[in-house]
Amino acid sequence: MLEVKGLRKAFGPLVAVDNISFTLEPGDIFGFIGSNGAGKTTTIRMLATLLEPDSGTAILNGRDIRVDPMSVRRQIGFMPDDFGIYDDVKVWEYLDFFATVYRVPKVERQSVIDNVLELVDLTAKRDAMATSLSRGMRQRLSLARCLVHDPSLLLLDEPASGLDPRARAELKELIAELGRMGKMIIVSSHILPELADFCNTVGIIERGKMVTHGRVEDIVRSIQQTRILHVKVIEGASEASMFLHGKEGVAATNLTGSTTLTVEFVGDGDMQADLLGVLVSEGYRVIEFREEAANLEDVFLQVTTGAVN
């Protein structure tokens, strides 16, 4: 478990991070969203013990980053926005060096390296020189390096920057898989679609302050009062639209096709279920009834002013 409590860092008169607090549980993937210069990297570097906070602290599995940074370092995998790959080593040698630095027992090192290479799909490149890898592969190698000591917290600073769409998609899938493995992951980015797909919690930071944070759905609901429901029926979409108009929680309906409509809805999950029940009991043959996915971009634009430090 990670508890971040009132982290603050100033560089002279510039307050880069101001009283940031949040909590992560195992398996949480926390998207750290903010414009360039908002304070994401400074926060991540403080959590990585690479920068001492002026005040506040973070406690990772009972270890305080300010009191016992050496223990915290053993539990952290940090991937900066630069890869930091040595130019004179093979892929396995690179991982072997960091496994040694993190004191992975010698007898386990080979199997650990094989496992992380398999996880990041670089087994075929085991004996290639690290510098011969493409940017996407280097990114995966960098992630493999973070994993050699089996950390409980991964700090990924702009991990998808500069990657092509395929490499980006592969990286997203990999991070989601690591979340399923129970790791706490903090991913910073200013590219919102990058995070929306796989983060279950997000924090939006602006000028060093956390504007909002929590579960994606909760944030979206707190900001967007109405939800958009997509409804598809086999026939009679216009009748269904008229039928739904005025029902409890329905703010408006829009016909989007001969068999599809959208409903602007104010209410919780139970009320949605009731609405679906009413539709079906009225004889409409519903083949799709879903809530539109949370739109992080809209939320971000709504809660931030665009100001930077």
Binding site: L50, D88, F97
Partner: protein, 283 residues
């Protein structure tokens, strides 16, 4: 006993159980694989080796008038250049490649990182000492066999060799300290190289010239002030009439070891400060 245990603990922490060492050691072995060298580097290395072999052969042939001093001066000069050349890039190179953060975020101390960097200088230092000490010993022995003193100035041969070795090792402690400290302070390898060369030039050339300029005032004062200089100390050691040979070698060695150790400690502090303040790596 307590002190002995403490020394063992430090040695274990910095060397025998230092997890940063494998990278240094593997880069040693890799640098020795000629296959990875550019062809031009290999050709230059072969030419240097041939010239060296010819010089040694010529010296051995000429033992009646040739003496070992030149090799001992050469040992001091070449080892200093090699150690500086190997070490200036250590931390600045990590910073330039953006890999220093990866070490600073790992559970290793600044002292372990610096110690690992120092091991890179071990091989060049030993190689330069062997390459120049061995011919010096051979030539000295041959002169003795031919009934001549090992040195023209009839200096005690074993003492001169031991003194020269001591001066070389102590001078390299300071050079290592300067190179590593400059590497710790600079963001790029080129600026670290410039700073290292500048410091060594100031220490061994500029200060020596300035002090020598005081000769008209007092020659004894100049001799005393220049005693720190390893080449002056070597000169005292290898000349029969030197008044300050022992003092000069002792002072020079202590000066170099003390300043070198101080700079290495400052390098460790600089790394630890960088870890806390986010310093140069987060530029």
């Amino acid at each position: 006993m307590g002190g002995h245990r403490q020394v063992r603990h430090v040695v274990r922490d910095l060397f025998t159980e230092n997890p940063c060492l494998p990278k240094s050691l593997s880069s040693f072995s890799r640098s020795l694989r000629i296959g990875t060298w550019p062809a031009s580097t290999a050709i230059v290395a072969v030419i240097i080796l041939l010239v060296y072999a010819c010089l040694v052969a010529l010296a051995v042939q000429s033992v009646t008038w040739f003496e070992p001093s030149i090799f001992l001066y050469g040992m001091l000069l070449i080892s200093i250049l090699l150690v500086a050349a190997v070490l200036y890039s250590g931390l600045a190179g990590e910073r330039e490649k953006k890999s220093l953060d990866l070490l600073l975020v790992a559970p290793v101390t600044g002292a372990q990182i610096v110690a690992a960097k120092l091991t890179k200088a071990f091989l060049p230092l030993v190689a330069s000492i062997l390459a120049l000490m061995v011919p010096a010993i051979v030539i000295g022995m041959m002169r003795i066999v031919k009934g001549q003193p090992a040195f023209i100035d009839n200096v005690n041969f074993p003492i001169a060799l031991a003194g020269a070795l001591g001066l070389t090792l102590s001078a390299n402690v300071l050079v290592a300290g300067v190179a590593v400290y400059m590497s710790a302070l600079n963001k790029t390898m080129s600026s670290a190289l410039t700073a290292t060369i500048g410091c060594l030039f100031a220490l061994y050339v500029v200060i020596a010239v300035l002090v020598s300029a005081m000769a008209p005032i007092s020659k004894d004062l100049v001799d005393t002030l220049l005693a720190y200089h390893p080449f002056v100390a070597m000169s005292s050691l290898l000349s029969q009439n030197a008044r300050f040979a022992g003092l000069s070698v002792g002072f020079s060695s202590v000066f170099h070891i003390a300043v070198g150790a101080g700079l290495l400690w400052a390098s460790v502090r600089a790394l630890e400060t960088e870890r806390k303040k986010g310093g140069r790596a987060s530029a």
